[in-house]
């Protein structure tokens, strides 16, 4: 067979238990240039990159989802199994399998390694995270391990880039070597329990010495999983995250805003006045600029989420939250997708794939968009900055540290969480009724997050956000500008009233009037169906147009809002966006994850009803209180 005789492989895949350090090894081997997509037909992430072999040839390296065995208990494991077995449609079986092992947890990780090796395919083992094993007082003998397994074993420390050239060389040689060996492998037909005994024996034979050292992570767990202190630490941590998101991003956001203003002024100075110039400044720059300035906040939020994940704390958070989640019929496992939804519901909903129970998963998908995503931040930030005074809550050393603006933001997050929990209880009692599911989860070792892995993760997220700003938000900003400027008003008449958008908004405004929304708000909600943050850029566009050729244009959007809105209106607007399902991407991903339009349609309906009720209640309560 000519294919088998090819000297160097074209494809290789990393397989291994979750928490084996696979992703860090993948990043170290392939660098920042990775292709991230979904496996067709399912929503499991496919990560692929280019690995240059010592010979200069290039292999496509994929990072398969972490698995405990080839008997899948989740969609992720199902993908790994079928790709490894060559059964995944359109995805050829990887020519070389690289089993990644956590050196400090051989006994467990070898079970899956034995299962993979028993397939008799070109396989090698990356004995990863040797430094952590040494930290735990373990001294290992890779050659003994290699002998016992019958495949090459390459010690690696992905984060220090140790063993990477050796690993690349071994991948290159793997196919030839396997043929030379004749691929004779023993223990091909062990059952699960026998394989575990074998793994234990091999692990023990490979350990040269083992000093019982006080392990750092068990002492950290004593604090972080403490029945009373643990939740306090978690809560404090989340509070710090949200304060940091709000205040830490300000200087960067201001710098970006200054850049947008500078560009806008430059265009004004260089172009002849007219519709084209207005389209560029009031349409494109005002619209896209108003969204792009929130990049710093999104990066800060993702920085925390990725760090918590990489450090191993995320699983502790799931542990701490399990009891609370169980009360609303979910498990701690739902906590991670829901926490991810604070950044964006789309990856959050995609992360529900790790939830094994179908009804648990559906419930989590349906409530995920109630978590305050980063797209709401632009909306919240503008309204809060304009209407909530920038001062401390109370006095004294502690009161002085809590800003009122941050507190309001925190309350909006809490409102979303409470809404989601209430929705979960109702759903679990009605539409997704069924037996409560369990919670079984490995708690990974604590690790210091690596700057390089964080940087790769952050740049991927930032790129996704900017691409959204550059495409969908750009288009919506232009379309809205067109809707606002055509047909042209007769001289002396208001342009917005004459425009297409004005007519549409008039209709919507009738429905929204009882909850205190004026026509400008109705107008901003129309394009915000694409994405929530568009409402900010469309408000910016609306008021820029309304104040055209006036000194008003120089006012920041916040000043414009203060001029046109009352405080109850602003608060109702905030309440609306806590619940409103205004994001096309979320609806699209829900359709894909639930395989049909039934659940996304239900999601739209129940969230709009919630938003309408919440905004109305907020408006009339605030009015009643005389705000």
């Amino acid at each position: 067979m000519s294919l088998a005789l090819r000297p160097t492989p074209r494809t290789a895949a990393l397989v291994g238990n979750p928490n084996a350090g696979k992703s860090a090894l993948f990043n170290a081997l392939t660098g920042a240039r990775q292709k991230i997509a979904n496996y067709p037909g399912v929503t499991v992430e496919r990560k692929a990159g280019r690995l240059v072999l010592p010979s200069g040839e290039v292999v496509e390296l994929t990072d398969l989802p972490g698995s405990y065995s080839l008997h899948p208990t989740s969609p992720d494991e199902e993908v790994t199994r079928s790709v490894v077995m060559g059964e995944f449609p359109g995805e050829p079986a990887p020519e070389v399998l690289v089993v990644v092992l956590d050196a400090s947890n051989l006994e467990q990780h070898l079970v899956f390694a034995l299962e993979i090796i028993a397939l008799g395919r070109p396989t090698l083992v990356a004995l990863n995270m040797l430094d952590l094993a040494e930290r735990d007082g373990l001294v290992l003998d890779p050659s003994a391990l290699s002998q016992a397994l019958g495949v090459p074993v390459i010690p690696t420390v992905a984060v220090r880039r140790r063993g990477l050239p050796e690993l690349a060389g071994a991948i290159e040689a793997a196919e030839r070597q396997a043929m030379a060996d004749g691929a004779v492998h023993r223990q091909a037909h062990l059952d699960g329990a026998e394989r575990r005994m074998e793994a234990r024996a091999i692990a023990q034979a490979s350990i040269l010495s083992e000093t019982a050292r006080h392990r750092l992570h068990s002492r950290m767990d004593d604090l972080l999983l403490h029945p009373w202190l643990g939740p306090l630490v978690l809560f404090a941590l989340l509070f710090v995250v949200f304060q940091a998101v709000f205040s830490g991003a300000a200087p960067f956001a201001n710098a970006l805003q200054a850049g947008v203003d500078f560009l806008s002024a430059a265009v004004r100075a260089r172009m002849v006045p007219g519709l084209w110039r207005d389209l560029l400044t009031d349409g494109v720059l005002a619209g896209v600029g108003a969204v792009v300035v929130f990049l710093p906040q999104i990066i800060i939020l993702f920085f925390f989420i990725l760090s918590l994940e990489a450090s191993g704390y995320m699983a502790r958070a799931a542990f701490l939250m399990d009891r609370m989640m169980a009360r609303v019929g979910l498990s701690g496992r739902s906590f991670i997708p829901l926490l991810s939804s604070f950044a964006c519901a789309v990856p959050g909903i995609m992360a529900t794939r790790s939830i094994t129970d179908a009804k648990d998963r559906l419930t989590t998908i349906l409530i995920a968009p109630l978590m305050t995503c980063s797209a709401r931040l632009p909306v919240y930030a503008v309204i809060i900055a304009a209407f909530i005074p920038h001062r401390a809550v109370g006095t004294g050393p502690i009161g002085g540290l809590i800003g009122l603006q941050g507190l309001v933001l925190f309350c909006l997050y809490v409102a979303g969480i409470i809404g989601a929990m209430a929705a979960a209880v109702v759903l679990r009692g009605t539409l997704t009724k069924g037996a409560a599911s369990g919670f079984i989860m490995e708690m990974p070792k604590y690790q210091l997050p690596r700057a390089r892995d964080l940087a790769i993760g952050l740049s991927q997220r930032a790129w996704i956000f900017l691409r959204r700003a550059g495409t969908i938000i750009f288009q919506v900003a232009v379309i809205l500008w067109l809707l606002l400027n055509f047909p042209r008003a007769e001289p002396g008449r208001d342009q917005i009233d004459a425009s297409f958008a004005g007519h549409i908004a008039n209709g919507v405004a009738v429905v929204l009037k009882p909850i205190g929304f004026n026509r400008d708000i109705a107008l901003s909600l129309i394009p915000a169906m694409a994405a929530r943050e568009v409402s900010v850029s469309s408000l910016a566009t609306t008021y820029a147009v309304a104040g055209a050729n006036e000194a008003q244009t120089s006012h920041a959007l916040g000043d414009q809002l203060k001029r046109h809105w009352t405080l109850p209106m602003a608060l109702a607007f905030l309440a609306w966006f806590v619940f409103a399902p205004q994001c096309m991407s979320t609806i699209a991903v829900t359709r894909r994850e639930t395989n049909g339009w039934k659940w996304p349609a239900f999601m739209l309906l129940y969230m709009f009803v919630l938003a309408y009720v919440a905004a109305g209640a907020t408006f009339w309560l605030a009015r009643g209180l005389g705000l």
Binding site: V111, A193, D221, H226, W228, E442
Partner: protein, 96 residues
């Protein structure tokens, strides 16, 4: 080791200590698991994490805010979170 008093489930015979009643920090060997009382996938997942007959386990942490759910169980060099409902079907014997 100190002779910490063990409090088995009131209704159980004295020698039938289940994992959910194992005192924190006490090592024990899993001697029997009633897999039929667990969901098949959950059973498979527990076994994949090394929680099976013959495993030496200890409870590292239990509960939040004074509750007794979930449990963090040490098995080998791993810590696995599971619920009381899972621990209840596992009979353990104290390691000597």
């Amino acid at each position: 080791m100190s002779d910490a008093p063990i409090s088995p489930a009131p209704a159980s015979p004295a020698n039938a200590l289940t994992l959910d009643y194992l005192p924190i920090g006490q090592s024990a060997c899993v001697v029997a698991v009633d897999w039929a009382r667990l969901d098949a996938d959950e059973g498979r997942r527990l076994r994949a994490l090394g929680i099976d007959v013959g495993a030496v386990v200890s409870v590292a942490h239990r509960g939040v805010f004074g509750g007794s759910d979930p449990l963090a169980v040490s098995v080998g060099r791993m810590t696995v979170a599971l619920r009381r409902a899972h621990a209840r079907v596992m009979r353990v014997e104290l390691a000597r």
